[in-house]
Subunit: 184 residues, 2 copies
């Protein structure tokens, strides 16, 4: 394989997204992805632990959010800490076009939707541990993190459909919606 080509991982990710879009996830084999990227099937598994992960490896969202939590003002309430961290999440997103293609592919396949869910749950777990380091009790930390992830889903869903709004606006809007809903 020529060395002047860009890195193998990026080629695999692009080839996989392309193939998943045209053929569907299940109908494309790992050998096809690897072949389109100029590698062998075995080499694919050197870059990604399994076939699904090729769509999820690039994100640095978790590290970004955790860093924001760790540098948040000490007197902030846990919920507010996560909310303000979330408001800056668009800093690590790739282009909206890429996100939309990815979302469509994921939504079209149950196995990928599963992986997406567990990735979000991983983020929730990391956020919960970050809260624990601020002194929040573990059970409550996980609870608040789960709720904030729900807010994130609500906000990003609107964000993908409405390019005009900023993510932090939509986060605040979802939080207000939640307060409204839970108030008797």
């Amino acid at each position: 394989m020529p060395r002047w080509e860009s890195d193998a991982q990026g080629r695999l990710e692009r080839a996989a997204l392309e193939l998943f879009e045209t053929q569907g996830f299940e109908r494309t084999t790992v050998a096809q992805i690897a072949g389109a990227a100029g590698l062998t099937e075995r080499s694919f598994y050197r870059y990604f632990p399994d076939k699904r992960e090729v769509l999820f490896a690039g994100s640095e969202l978790e590290a970004h959010l955790v860093a924001r939590v760790e540098t948040a003002a000490p007197d902030l309430m846990p919920f507010e800490v996560l909310l303000t961290a979330l408001g800056t999440a668009d800093e690590v997103f790739r282009s909206r076009e890429f996100l939309l293609r990815r979302v469509k592919v994921i939504a079209a396949n149950p196995a990928l939707a599963e992986r997406d869910l567990i990735k979000l749950a991983d983020v929730a777990g990391a956020l919960a541990r970050a809260l624990e380091r601020r002194g929040v009790e573990p059970g409550e930390a996980r609870f608040i993190a789960d709720v904030v992830i729900a807010i994130a889903r609500r906000a990003t869903s609107r964000w993908l459909a409405d390019p005009a709004a900023t993510l932090s606006e939509l986060i605040a809007q979802a939080a207000a919606e939640l307060r409204e809903a839970v108030t008797p």
Copy 2:
């Protein structure tokens, strides 16, 4: 299979739980489960679409909750509807001993944890659709359902650790905790 024997599906479920406990999920093959239940590997797949599902097939939780939502008083707020439905969820749970064994097996394996998450997400989706039938806008319905599922996780986690408390008490407690957390 003789009629006086218990059904094949139940035998497969029990054999699988047993084997997963002693050998771990990955190290037990479908052929082993089927063999322990007196069936062939091929027959296993007539009862369950895949190996993981043998641990998740029995639950009628979703149908129970949806039924509760559909018979709820029309003037209740969406959040309250789901909360009161959740409070009756213990009516469809099996024995605590069975639940604990199951939880341990699931927690010990990432693939099973994934499936557990997606099952909860399925419940959230069903609850959201039930809310839509009451006139709630789809995006908000899903949002509220996700939040209520977070409440459910918080409550059941406490419930498994504390046999004394009732589930509906713990649900109300988690809801109060949420109101407290989101109030500025």
